[in-house]
């Protein structure tokens, strides 16, 4: 049995780029990383001397902190570049900003941006840097999907034929897109539901089923993932009020009682308590939300480690 394998990717931009083997490797590496994170000395020298730059053009404390902790636990040097919204007024060149960062010679850029496709364009522009997509517009959030998958595997064992339901604003959710891509790639059976105004055109292209109601969607689910109703990305007129949303599309305690007793509840955070998920459900024993957060650090450590040690042949 070969002791080594090659992680061929220079970047992590999209779940679409990963093979099943890549995903399995990431999860296996993340398991070791989680062990590290539970020791007293939560640190290994693997990325010592590497410089990582957090480029969060879109505000986020949780994901940015998660990446920061991950980098530090690998002994990498990490710098946070977080321009205020006013610094990037309409018309300022994203390419220009990134070239300035590049002049500081980072080994890795972790990029979150409100524009879909920006991490890809950055990766195309800058040579010799690894780019990690920490969320681009409505497009993808690959590390979130990977940590969600890791959590599901941790609790449920196998992914193949696992029944996963995504509830909520699918149309505007990069978490939904990455999860749909990743779960179907790994053989899970995905069901989606939300207000019809928040289902994207041709969502079936992801190989998912659209349920007719929340009850139908969660009846046979092993995993129920509630998506945040994205206030800042909403179309006009998506639904009349959060009250109506909660009543007809939210995961209430009553709805949860009608699911399989071992079904777990997930949420990418931050949680709109009382809107997409009832507070007692979010805090309840079936919810693994905090586990997701812990696993986020382990998965991100795995990603950084694998990218840093990659076979350097690949270009975008």
């Amino acid at each position: 049995m070969s002791d080594t394998t090659a992680f061929q990717h220079r970047h992590l931009l999209s779940v679409e780029d990963l093979s099943k083997r890549d995903v399995e490797l990431i999860l296996e590496t993340a398991r070791s990383m989680k062990d590290i994170s539970r020791r007293d000395v939560k640190k290994v020298p693997a990325l010592r001397g590497k410089s990582v730059m957090n480029c969060f053009f879109e505000a986020s404390t949780r994901t940015r902190t998660s990446f920061e902790i991950a980098a530090k636990r690998l002994s990498a040097d990490i710098v946070n570049f977080a321009p205020t919204q006013s610094a990037l007024t309409k018309g300022e060149s994203i390419i220009d900003t990134v070239r300035t960062l590049y002049a500081m010679q980072p080994d890795m850029l972790i990029v979150r941006h409100h524009g879909s496709g920006i991490p890809l364009r950055i990766a195309q522009t800058l040579p010799n840097v690894s780019v990690v997509n920490a969320g681009d517009g409505m497009h993808e959030h690959p590390t979130q999907a990977l940590l969600d998958l890791f959590t599901m595997q941790e609790v449920k064992g196998k992914i193949k034929n696992l029944r996963v339901t995504l509830l909520g604003d699918i149309a505007h959710s990069r978490v939904a897109r990455s999860n749909m891509l990743l779960l179907t790639k790994m053989g899970a059976r995905v069901v989606v539901h939300g207000p019809r105004t928040l289902l994207p055109y041709d969502v079936e292209q992801y190989g998912v089923t659209v349920a007719a109601s929340v009850e139908d969607a969660i009846a046979e689910a092993d995993v129920i993932m509630c998506l945040r109703v994205q206030q800042e990305r909403l179309h006009a007129f998506a639904f009349p009020s959060t009250r109506e949303y909660a009543r007809y599309f939210g995961l209430s305690a009553a709805r949860l009682r009608a699911t399989k007793p071992d079904a777990i509840v997930m949420h990418p955070g931050p949680v709109n308590r009382g809107v997409e998920i009832a507070p007692e459900v979010a805090d309840g024993e079936r919810a693994v939300i905090l586990q997701q957060v812990e696993n986020g650090i382990a998965v991100r450590m795995a990603i950084l480690f694998l990218l840093a040690g990659r076979d350097t042949k690949e270009t975008v």
């Binding site: 309409k90 018309g91 060149s93 994203i94 390419i95 220009d96 941006h113 409100h114 524009g115 879909s116 496709g117 920006i118 890809l120 364009r121 195309q124 681009d136 517009g137 409505m138 497009h139 993808e140 149309a171 990069r174 897109r177 994207p200 055109y201 041709d202 969502v203 292209q205 179309h235 006009a236």
Partner: protein, 431 residues
Amino acid sequence: MTTSLFIFGATVIDPARRVEGHWNLFVQNGRVAEWTKSKTPPAGARSIDASGLVLTPGWIDMHVHLREPGEEHKEDIVSGARAAAAGGFTSIVAMANTTPTNDNAAVTRFIIDRASHAAVRVYTVGALSKNLAGETLADIGDMAAAGAVAISDDGHNVDNALLMRRALEYARGFHLPVLTHCEESCLCAGTVMHEGAVSTRLGLRGRPSTSEEVIIRRDMALLRDTGGHLHVQHISSALGVAAVRDARAAKLPVTTEVAPHHLFLTDEALAKYDPVFRVNPPLRTAADGAALRAGLRDGTIDVIATDHAPHAITDKHDLPIEQASAGTVGLECALPLCLRLVEEKTLTLAKLIAMVTCNPARILKLPAGTLNIGDVADITLFDPTIAWQIDANKFFSKSRNCMFAGWKVRGQVRYTIVGGNIVHDAHEVTR
């Protein structure tokens, strides 16, 4: 300065006169003097050996943006005209979304005056509403008197149905067609591409074809009441073509144009989020492309026009696609793309030439589009066989935002002649 020309050996295509064959042309004093089979050049005439070339009336692009006044860093009337000449066009029609807007006679006269220095003929379209704001009518009568050939709020949809109705009525009184940019504003707000499977996959907001159809049908209904002439610009969708077809069946005075990018590219072009492919209306699906071709074949679509839209790098390439300006330059790559339509048998060569000569001339009542004896000698001569690669860095246009950059194409302009003067000679080009 006007030398006489004797152009011999070409295949002549002049759809307005139903001519298709070998004819030699004698041009004198800037006008068509004689068509002859004789190979003997008249005395004093400069001979042009056009063997292997196709000779047509000068091509007309009835939809360009010249950016002057106001955004001369992107293009100006002189550079845009030079680009047009390189593309084989002898007449171009400039839209009104300049800064200041061409919504009054002073700006119209300014443009016409600047155009006297231009290599090709530049016609102006006046705005439909003041400042393109869609609130009050622009000085349509004054602009007509100053020489405008049509009115249009191109770049913007006319949201107010009453204003649209009044514009149709008022323009009719001045014998001006109304050119419309049909995209329902609310359905399109915040969107950057076509709404479809691709926009979902890319995580970009899309606008449905319905946003085009809804306005075309609204305007058709208004036209029924007002009469006049409605010309739908840059039609992009199967639903749009179907609407115009219904209008024709109902005998409404509607014409329409299509741009090469809607024929040769689909929404898949945006897979790498390159802003060069952002355009309004957006690139749609292969099915829409097929419907546009059917529209060309059955005559629903009358004109091919480039919607030449120059933009600086700072407005396009450097920005995220959500913030990038929309549009592509098109003057210098239109000809080979048009010829591709003949190659793929969507159109015969004669039908294609009509789309860029007599049809736009008829719609805008331009003194162009055919080469009768006595007509001004606006002539396009091209070699349909030359293979070349589109290189935006070699454009005469000031801007480089070209969706077709790098394409390998066939067919190239050899001479562009305006009023008997050669304004573009492919063999003399040093850029």
